[in-house]
C-alpha cells in the first residue's frame, strides 16, 4: 500500500484541484481524502510519500514514442526508452511501429507487449502499422494487431501516399474501433529537404520542406476521415495552415484530433542556424508564425495533445553533415518540463495542461488513464512546478542524447513517477 500525502492534486476529469491524500492499494487508487477531515488511520506497513509543496497529476501519456526495439537496439530499447519515460513523468507510452521488423502483425505486437511487461519501467501500448512492411501498398493485419494489444494504427515516419489505401485503412480500422494516426507529408513536395523552406533555408543553402508538404496531406486525410467516419489523429502538427484546416474540419463535425510536440511549440527554424543536427526533425522546425498558430491552437483546443515524438538516435546517425543526419529528437524525458513552460508562459492553465498530456491521449487511444478517481489505475506523476534544472542530454536515461534543448534551464521538474502503484522514478534529492 502507498499513501501520497499532502500534494496538490490536479484532476480535470474529477474537476478537482486541491490538496488531498491519495491511497493506493494493489495498483489502484482507492481513496482521495480531504486532509481537513479527520484522517483515516494509515495501515501499518504502508509506504508514505510526503508530497507537500508538490503537484500530483494523473500519469502522463505520451502517445508518440519510438522505442526502436526490435531492430534498432543501438538507438533505444524498450528498457531504456521506458526508463527515460519514467524519468520524464510519463507512465504510458504508445510506441510507433517503424521498427525492424515493423509492427505490422500480431506476433510483433505480442513481442513488444511481452518485452515491456518483463523489462519496461512504464506501461507500453503498441501502435500497429497501417500497411504491411510500412510500404504503403497493402493493409497490415489490423484485426490481429488489435487482438495483440495495438491501440491505434499508423505508418508514422512515412506517409501513406496511396490515397485509396488510406481510404481502405480508415474504413477497415473502424471495424476494429481503432483510430488512425497520420504522419502527414507529401514526400514528393518534401523533395528530400532537411529543414523548413523559407528565409533560413535560403540563407543556409539547405533544401527546404515547404509547409504545403504537410498541408496537402492534412487536407486529404481530413477529407477521407469525413468520408469514412474514421477517427483520425494527426501527428506532430507543425504549420499554421494545418491548424486552420483541422479547426475548420472539427467545427464541421469531422472526428479529428491532433497533437503537437514541445519542439514545434517552442523552437523555430532559427535554431538550425547553429548547424546543430539535433535541430533536424520531421516535420521540420517552422517559422515564428507557425509556432504562434500552434500555441493558439493549443489554447483553443484545436490541438488536443502534447506528445514528444521521442526519436532517439545514436551519434553515428547525427554527427554528420546536416543534410545527411537523421531526423528526430530524443524527447520523452523532457516532455513534462518543456510543456510546462507553456503553463508558466500563460498559454495553458495547469488543468488544461493535464488534459493535453494525460486525459486526451488516454481518451484518443481508449486506454485507462488520465484520472485519479478512486477505482482507476494508480499511474501518477509528482511535479515541483517551481524547481529549475538544466537539461543535460548526456544524463538522459534514453540512449538517444539528441536534444536541441541542451543547456536550457527549465522550471518544473518531475519529482516522482508511479506506475500501477509502484514508484518507478524518484528524482535526485526528492
Amino acid at each position: 500500500m502507498l499513501v501520497i500525502k499532502g500534494g496538490k492534486v490536479v484532476d480535470p476529469v474529477l474537476g478537482f484541484d486541491g490538496v488531498a491524500h491519495i491511497w493506493i492499494e494493489k495498483g489502484v487508487v482507492t481513496r482521495l481524502l480531504d486532509p481537513s477531515l479527520e484522517e483515516a488511520p494509515v495501515p501499518d506497513g504502508a509506504q508514505l510519500v510526503d508530497a507537500s509543496g508538490l503537484v500530483v497529476v494523473p500519469g502522463l501519456v505520451d502517445m508518440h514514442v519510438h522505442l526502436r526495439e526490435p531492430g534498432y537496439e543501438y538507438k533505444e530499447t524498450i528498457r531504456s526508452g521506458t526508463e527515460a519515460a519514467a524519468a520524464g513523468g510519463v507512465t504510458t507510452v504508445a510506441c510507433m511501429p517503424n521498427t525492424d521488423p515493423p509492427n505490422d502483425h500480431g506476433a510483433i505486437a505480442e513481442f513488444v507487449v511481452r518485452k515491456a511487461r518483463e523489462e519496461g519501467a512504464v506501461r507500453v501500448v503498441p501502435i500497429g502499422a497501417i500497411s504491411k512492411g510500412l510500404k504503403g501498398e497493402s493493409l497490415a493485419e489490423i484485426g490481429e494487431l488489435k487482438e495483440a494489444g495495438a491501440v491505434a494504427l499508423s505508418d508514422d515516419g512515412r506517409p501513406v501516399t496511396n490515397s485509396l489505401l488510406m481510404r481502405r485503412a480508415m474504413e477497415y480500422a473502424r471495424t476494429f474501433a481503432l483510430p488512425v494516426i497520420s504522419h502527414c507529408e507529401d514526400l514528393v513536395l518534401a523533395a528530400n529537404g532537411s529543414m523548413n523552406e523559407g528565409v533560413v533555408s535560403l540563407e543556409l543553402g539547405l533544401r527546404g520542406i515547404p509547409a504545403t508538404a504537410e498541408e496537402v496531406m492534412v487536407a486529404r486525410d481530413l477529407a477521407l476521415a469525413e468520408w469514412t467516419g474514421c477517427p483520425l489523429h494527426i501527428a506532430h502538427v507543425s504549420t499554421a495552415g494545418s491548424v486552420r484546416m483541422i479547426r475548420e474540419a472539427r467545427a464541421r463535425g469531422v472526428k479529428v484530433t491532433a497533437e503537437a510536440t514541445p519542439h514545434h511549440l517552442l523552437l523555430t527554424e532559427d535554431a538550425v542556424r547553429s548547424w546543430d543536427t539535433n535541430t533536424k526533425v520531421n516535420p521540420p522546425l517552422r517559422s515564428d508564425r507557425d509556432v504562434e498558430a500552434l500555441q493558439d491552437a493549443l489554447r483553443d483546443g484545436t490541438i488536443d495533445v502534447i506528445a514528444s515524438d521521442h526519436a532517439p538516435h545514436a551519434p553515428v546517425d547525427k554527427e554528420l553533415e546536416y543534410e545527411h543526419a537523421a531526423f528526430g529528437i530524443s524527447g520523452v524525458e523532457t516532455l513534462a518540463s518543456l510543456s510546462l513552460m507553456l503553463v508558466h508562459k500563460g498559454v495553458l492553465s495547469l488543468q488544461e495542461w493535464v488534459r493535453k498530456v494525460s486525459v486526451n491521449p488516454s481518451r484518443i487511444l481508449a486506454i485507462e488513464g488520465g484520472t485519479l478517481a478512486p477505482g482507476s489505475r494508480a499511474d501518477l506523476t509528482l511535479l515541483d512546478l517551481e524547481r529549475t534544472w538544466k537539461i543535460e542530454p548526456d544524463r538522459f536515461r534514453s540512449k538517444g542524447k539528441n536534444s536541441p534543448f541542451r543547456n536550457w534551464v527549465v522550471r518544473g521538474r518531475v519529482e516522482m513517477t508511479v506506475v500501477a502503484g509502484k514508484v518507478v522514478y524518484r528524482a535526485e534529492g526528492a
Binding site: 523552406e197 523559407g198 528565409v199 533555408s201 535560403l202 540563407e203 543556409l204 543553402g205 539547405l206 533544401r207 527546404g208 515547404p210 548547424w275 553515428v316 554527427e319 554528420l320 553533415e321 546536416y322 543534410e323 545527411h324
Partner: protein
C-alpha cells in the same frame, strides 16, 4: 570563426562565407589581391610567402576550375599543396566527414580548402579543426572565393562597386555563387537584381535586399554588370522549366536582349558555360565578356585569401 577583422588586420581563422564578412574585410581581400595579380604576370610566377605551409585541397565534388585555381594560387605562394578528391558516395557509406577531417588534422596542415555537396560541411570542419578552413563551395550555400573574384573583376573594370547595377540571371535557387554574390555586392553598395522563372527564384529572396524580376529584358535594363549562372540541365529540365529550348528563348542572354543593358555593360559567368542555353556564343565571345578575366583574377584572389589566413597583412602582400 575567430571573430571579425579590424580595418587592417585579418582576424578570422576561416573563410566560410561572405555573409559574415564586413565591407572592410571584403575590401582587405580585394586590395591584397591587387598585389598578387601582378605576380602572375611575372616571368617567374612564384614568391616564397607561404614556404613551409601545407595546404590541403579536399574536394568532395568534382571540380576542375576551382581546384586548379586554388592549386596554382598555393603553388605561386610556395606552399606545399596536396589535392584529395573523394567521391561523396563513398564518404556516406564509409568514413564520416568528421573522421576524414581528424585524420587530415593529424598531418598538421595549415589550411584546408574544402568543397562539399552538403551545405554547412565547411562549418562543421572549421569547428573541429585547428587548421584554417576555406570554403570552396558547399551545397547551395556559399562559394566565397568566387564572389570575391567577381567583385575584384567588377572593381577592376568599373572602378567601383558602390552603386553598380548587377543583374544575376538564372538558377538562383540552386546557386551558391548567387548567394555569395548577393551578400558581397549588396554589402559593397551595389544594387542587385535576380532574374529567372519563379521556379528558380527561392522563396524569401527579397529579404536579402535584392530586386526580383521574371522578365529577362526588364531584369537587365540599364545593368552595368550581368552575371549569367550555369543551368544544370540534367537536373532542372522538365521540372523547373519545360525544355532547354524554352529556357534559352526566355532567359538566354543574346546580343538582342543585351540592347537593354548599359552600353558599357560587362558579362560574367562563373563557368562552365552551356553555350546556346543561358548564354549565346556571340555574347560569350563578344566584347562585353570578361569571363576569362574572371578566371585569371581567381588565382590572385585565392592567393590573397591563403595569404591573409596565414597571418599576412595587406601591406606586405606581394613583397
Amino acid at each position: 570563426m575567430t571573430g571579425p577583422g579590424s580595418k587592417d588586420t585579418w582576424l578570422r581563422k576561416d573563410l566560410l562565407g561572405i555573409r559574415e564578412l564586413s565591407p572592410d574585410e571584403i575590401r582587405m581581400v580585394l586590395d591584397t589581391a591587387v598585389s598578387f595579380k601582378e605576380i602572375s604576370t611575372r616571368e617567374i610566377k612564384k614568391v616564397p610567402t607561404l614556404r613551409g605551409k601545407t595546404v590541403i585541397h579536399l574536394f568532395f565534388e568534382p571540380s576542375t576550375r576551382t581546384r586548379t585555381s586554388f592549386e596554382i594560387a598555393a603553388k605561386r605562394l610556395s606552399a606545399d599543396a596536396v589535392n584529395i578528391s573523394v567521391s561523396t558516395s563513398s564518404v556516406v557509406k564509409g568514413e564520416t566527414l568528421l573522421d576524414t577531417a581528424l585524420n587530415l588534422q593529424a598531418m598538421e596542415p595549415d589550411i584546408l580548402v574544402v568543397r562539399h555537396g552538403a551545405a554547412g560541411a565547411p562549418n562543421l570542419l572549421a569547428r573541429v579543426l585547428k587548421a584554417s578552413v576555406v570554403n570552396a563551395g558547399d551545397g547551395f550555400r556559399e562559394h566565397p572565393t568566387q564572389a570575391l573574384l567577381d567583385m575584384f573583376t567588377v572593381l577592376e573594370k568599373k572602378g567601383r562597386l558602390d552603386g553598380i547595377r548587377l543583374a544575376i540571371v538564372g538558377d538562383i535557387a540552386h546557386s551558391r555563387v548567387a548567394r555569395s554574390n548577393i551578400y558581397g555586392f549588396t554589402k559593397m553598395g551595389a544594387k542587385v537584381r535576380v532574374v529567372g522563372p519563379h521556379t528558380l527564384i527561392p522563396v524569401g529572396i527579397e529579404t536579402l535586399g535584392v530586386e526580383v524580376h521574371h522578365d529577362l529584358r526588364a531584369g537587365i535594363r540599364d545593368a552595368d554588370v550581368i552575371m549569367m549562372l550555369r543551368v544544370q540541365r540534367e537536373r532542372l529540365q522538365g521540372s523547373f522549366f519545360p525544355s532547354e529550348r524554352e529556357y534559352a528563348r526566355f532567359f538566354g542572354l543574346t546580343a538582342k536582349a543585351l540592347e537593354e543593358a548599359m552600353p558599357d555593360v560587362i558579362i560574367m559567368h562563373p563557368g562552365p558555360m552551356n553555350r546556346g542555353v543561358e548564354i549565346s556564343p556571340e555574347v560569350a565571345d563578344g566584347p562585353y565578356s570578361v569571363i576569362l578575366e574572371q578566371v585569371t583574377n581567381g588565382v590572385a584572389v585565392r592567393m590573397a585569401v591563403l595569404y591573409l589566413l596565414s597571418g599576412g597583412t595587406r601591406e606586405d602582400a606581394g613583397h
